[in-house]
Each structure stands twice: as structure tokens, then as C-alpha cells.
Symmetry: C2
Amino acid sequence: MQKGPVYDIVIHNGTVLTVNGAFDILNKGVVCIADGSLKRIEERTPNQPLPPARHVIDARGGIIMPGLVNTHTHAAMSLFRGLADDLPLTSWLNDYIFKAEARWLNPESVYAGTLLSCAEMLLSGTTTFCDGYFFEDAVAEAVQESGMRAILGQGIVDFPAPGVPDPKKNVAEAARFIETWRGKTPLISPGLFCHSPYTCSEGTLKEARKVADEAGSLFQIHVAETQKEVKEIEQRQGANPVQYLDRIGVLNAGTLLVHAIWVNEGDIACMARHGVGVSVATESEMKLASGVAPIPEFLKKGLAVGIGTDGSASNNNLDMFQEMDTAAKLHKVTTGDPTVLDARQVLTLATRSGAKAIGLGKQIGSLEAGKKADLIIIDTHKPHLTPLYDPVSHLVYAASGSDVRDVIIDGRLVVQDRALLTFNLEPVVEYVADLARRIAS
Amino acid sequence: MQKGPVYDIVIHNGTVLTVNGAFDILNKGVVCIADGSLKRIEERTPNQPLPPARHVIDARGGIIMPGLVNTHTHAAMSLFRGLADDLPLTSWLNDYIFKAEARWLNPESVYAGTLLSCAEMLLSGTTTFCDGYFFEDAVAEAVQESGMRAILGQGIVDFPAPGVPDPKKNVAEAARFIETWRGKTPLISPGLFCHSPYTCSEGTLKEARKVADEAGSLFQIHVAETQKEVKEIEQRQGANPVQYLDRIGVLNAGTLLVHAIWVNEGDIACMARHGVGVSVATESEMKLASGVAPIPEFLKKGLAVGIGTDGSASNNNLDMFQEMDTAAKLHKVTTGDPTVLDARQVLTLATRSGAKAIGLGKQIGSLEAGKKADLIIIDTHKPHLTPLYDPVSHLVYAASGSDVRDVIIDGRLVVQDRALLTFNLEPVVEYVADLARRIAS
């Protein structure tokens, strides 16, 4: 028996992808967890006894890696998954989604839709997500029940919105949300989500920025998503969306720009200067034909880029493995260069870089001693993951969310052998299925 | 008890996607199978007793649909999955794949690699695949063991190839393969696969065409895959690849053109005139940065287009659900039109249209009385498939291969509750893993 502390959890018999700065890979790794944090990550030498632990997990030759960080979701939109497809963004939003949201969103439905998405995310290896929606208190309650880590942004838009009938109170409502949830539970960081430069006035954006800064919260905003938006902002503001946001002083390091598809070189330099984070949502952006965000250019300028799924009404799932695969392949074919966005880069976007983009770079995103114990174990005993020359290649190009076996968040086992341990999914599925029958009819 | 025949299998309690010409969807469908064929597909009225059957399958509210048709694979290339990624096509082929093939391919390894891929395809809902490789007898033996339906093309190339050291004998070897397997088993249709217009001479192509026509076999060929190929053929032949193949008389209805990315309007008209089938392999073509095949233009001209995965060394899996999703999304974003390639069209490509492209349109590809009983059942009791407004949307945009529960081919249950019934996968996985360790070292 080895001397030293007794760990809460020790994981062994797997290949550890640390996704640290050196991208260290430990072929026979041991990961030791106590008090919610990673304490030791090391290669096991032959015949070395395992450190003492209350719970020992055998990865059975699989892959042990950081939990995936989904940097852009509207979790409760699972309620509208598949309600309307193959439509332009404006028609999809105005004719279907906004109408369904206005009629069917309430704290109860948002709570259920979010829990459903939490189940989907947990079972596909996402441990942290960054959300923006309405009734965000209900989202926070669902996140608490699920055991996930999340950054939650109360939605802000200058027209009557679900739960915020008076747009004059939109920023105040976000401030109240932040105040309610700040410091309440270590897994939830409250913030706000301004819908876009075309649906929020300059005054709203500035006020929201002030609230976010005073609380030390993340300021999220959809920006430069479509060419239409760029034209509209140029006409209204005499500047493109990024230039406009820069001019009114709302860009700083506590900012997440979502989509950022139609940006030019000057915009990217400006984004880098302010140290903003960026979230791309490749599959949703493809499905809505919005365009291709210049990820390789973002990375050249040193921006912290994360991968998001967007809501499952425009994707239509929350599988970050598929998102990695598609992002890597899309940029190869659109640049004509198959070496662009290689597997390691893409895996880094979905973990360490994404964590940094949403302001959690010091806590999560890689397996390093001192960071929070957010990790997943991949079962590689599958025909589509055989043989195994390179675990990183498999994760990006061959795996899918259903290959995730175990999930640990903040040192707590929340998925074991693909069973969800934190809440009972069945009543949630029944509630959502029943609601969908009413929405459809 | 209802009068009438006793069926071999009756499936009930599911939504039946027929993918017939009218795209009929039966919400409470019953599918009756006897003698390997579909006998009745109909809506079940309330309280109607089930037809008598030896085996009744409860789809438990899931989706019953035609088995997927993978129109382009090199199944045994699973041996090299993840061996080399993020490389240009020529370097990937010349520096890695051709070398590994020359050294490691033999009937035993091709048999094992193919069986591994058959397991992967079956467990992800593919019931028929169209293959091209070397040692194709070993491929046929693996297919027989797996219970799959396949069109198998013995590879033809004008340099020494695995199993065909003397290129002068390449067409003769393909003819021998066809002769050996023609009529041997109803599930295997032997044919040939000319690698490309740049690796096969005019004489070889013409000879191969003659052999295929005499046997009534499919003539497959990679064509117009890269801009480099087009330039090379234009220089050598004074015509682009499709024009060249047309001029030398090798295009007819018994032809499958694979990739067909760099084709112009005249080429597409020529392809339509000859009634050739086309197979696109979107994910592989993206990963190798080859380009985007003009599927919408093919469809406008009435071409039979199928979806293929290509080999898993360039994809890196054989999941046709992911392939459908990516194809739909890629064409939306590259055309800027989110209505392009809608979910129904894409599902049709992966089933009925793909079957037609490889010459099996009368036997398989849809659930219609008289066709072969090749079908799959999707388990929709998953968070990522909840709620369900539109089964077609879910199949294309939300599902993945791991949602397939049961698979029936030629009236035989080959996958039940995700367990493979036809062969023991474990020794295959062990053999391939062991071989990969030697390849890697």
C-alpha cells in the first residue's frame, strides 16, 4: 500500500489525453481526484500499486480526457427540435421559433427542456455549457439538478420577450438574475446574453455591459451571423457589427462573441486587441446557411475560440463530437487545404480553448493538477473505434457522443456506464413529448 | 385470428417511413415479411389484430425504415483507420496508404478488415454496401459471413497491386472474380472497380467495360475527384475526365461514377444521357479537401445519386447518418440556401436513390411490397431524439448510427437490440488490433 492521501476517485487503465499546453498523452495514465479537483495525473509504471481511493474506476483501455465545453447553447430549445427545418434563418426565427417561444415558454417548460438537454449533453460527454435564453432562473434550477457546470446568460432583447413582457426592464431583469445566482452554487456562473446588435439598442448594450462588468459576469452576444445583419448594421450605424460594438465600448475580455462569421481582418485584429472569446457553432451555421466563420484566422491572431452546438432546434443535436468532426472537415474543404484545423487543434477548441473563451480557462478545459475534476471516459471497444493508432484522430473523426461511458463533474460521478446518476430522465421525456404534441397540433 | 398466410416476421408499433415514390409515412405501421421479401406494409387500424407470424417484432414506438445503402466503400481499409490524417490526398495515398496496403494486405487481413467494417455498418443501419478493393474474394467471404448485401468490385489499376502483381492480368483477375461469385449467393453481386482515369489506361478501361457488360456487372470508377486529376487528364487526353470516359465509350447505365466533384454542366448532361449512377462521399471529400460535388445539379438532371462513406481511413467511420447530416448541411452553406437538399431528399439519397445508382433500384431502397426485406428499426427513446415532430428531420439532423436497434436483411434478423447475430466480433477486433500494433511499429 502506497503512502499518501486517500483520494475520492482514482481512474486507471486508460490513455489520458491531458490537453495541457504540451498536449501530453499518457498511455497508461492514472488520474487522482479529491475535493472536486484533479490532484495527480501521471503515467503508471509497471507493477506500481494504485494510490488509495474510496472509488477506483477502471477505464478498461479507453480514453480519459477533459469534459467537453459547449460554448453556445439555448438548452431549452430542445422543446422545438425538428419543429422546422430547411428554412432561411429569418423565416425559421420569425415564422416558427419566435412564435413557438412566445406561446409555449414558461418556467416549467424551460426547466424541462433544459433538463432534457442536460441529459443529452451529459450522455455525449459535455460537462460545461454556456447558455443564453429566457426564464434563465429555470435553466439554473435544471442545471443544479443535472450536476453540470454552466455559464448562464439571461436573454436581453428590445422587444417583449418570454418572461420579460416590458423590454424596458430587460437589463434590470438580467441584473436581478445575476444577483440571484452569483455565488449560490460553485457550478453556476450567472451572466447575460444580449441577443444581437440588431435587436438591442446602443443604450441597452451599454447598460448590459455595465451590469456584466460590475458583477464580473460574461457578456454574450450573437454577432455578424448573416450578411443581412452586417448590411443592416452598416446602414444603421455606419459601421459593421464588430466595429460598432467596439465604438460603443462593449468589447472587453469578459465578452463572448457568438458566430462572428462575417468579420474582416480588421475586425479580427480588434477582437484580439480586446481579448474577447469567440464561439463558433458550425453545424447550426451550416444548416441555416449563415456562412463559415474564419476559425483558422481567429487562431492565427491568438483568439480564444470555442465550439458550440447552438440550440438543438437548429442543429439538431448537442453532440460535440459531431461538431468537432464537422468543423475540422468544413474548414479543410472550404480552404482547399486538408492540413487546416488538424485533430489536435479541434480537440483543443472543444476543451481548453473553449474554457478560456467563456472565462473558465483557469478552472477547467484540461487535465492538470489543480484544475476542477471535469472529465469523461470514452469506451473504445467499438468496431468504429478499432484499430486505434491515434486517440486524438478517433475522437475528432470517428467517435460520437454515444461512445462516452462515464462522466465526472467537479469530482462527482454523474454518468456511469451510460446511466445518468443525477436525475430521473423518464418524467422529463414524458413532459416534453406531451408538450410537443400540443405544440404540433 | 386473422386469416391469411403466416408470415416469417411481422413488425408493428412504429412509424413506417416507406421512402416510396410518394414518400408515404405510416404512423402506426405494420410490415409483413416472408421468404426474404416485403409482403404487406400498411397502417394498422385500432383494435386490428396483427397478422399471424413466426416472429413478431415490437418497434416500441420507433422508426421502421429501409436499410441504408452505402454506395462507396473500401471496407477493408478499416485496417488503416486513423493511421494518417490531416494530409493532402496525394501524400495520404502515396506516403501512407499505398505503402501500408502493399505491405499488409493479404486475403486474411482483407477478410478481417472487411468483417470489422461489416459489423460497424450493420450496427449503424447500413444493409447494403458497394465496395471496391483488392483481394475481393476475401471481401466476398466476409460479406457472406456477415449477412449483408453487397456489390463488390475487384480493383483494377495499371501498376502492381495487392494480389495482382502483374498489372497485365488486372482485368482478367476481375473477370475471374466475377465468374467465381456470379450467382453464387443472392446477396452478393460481383463487379469491378477501375481505380481512376489517371491510373488505368484507355485499353484497360475498355477491356474492363467489356467484361462488366458481358457479365451484367457494375463498372465503378473514381472520377473527377481533384482539380489535379482534371488537369492531368486534360493534358494527357485533351478532354476532362467525364468527356474522356464518354469518348472512349465506357459510360452506360451499368456505371457508377464515384466523387464526380469537378464536373461541369456539359459533363452532368452527358452523365444523365448515359444514365450513369453517381456516388458522393461528402465527409471523406471534405476531409481530403477534394471539393464539393454538385449534388443539387445532379438531382436537377435526374441522375441517380447515392451517398457513400468512402473507406474509414479517410472519413473516419462508416456512419451513414452522419454522412446524411453533413451532406445536407454542407450544400446549404456552400450554396447559401438553407432550403437546398432538404431532409427528405437526403434520406432518399441514402436509400432509394442510392439503390438505383448501384443498379439495385428494383430490389431494395424502399419499403414496398415485392422488394427485398432490408430494413432497420430506430430506437427513438433517447434524449437527442426527443421530442419527435418529424421522423425524417430526426433521421437526417439528430440521429446517429448508434440509434439503430434492429436490422433485417433479406428477411433475416442480423442485429437485434444492438447485438450482432451473424458472427462473433471479438476475434475480429483482436486480430485487427494486433495487426495495427505491427503496422504502427
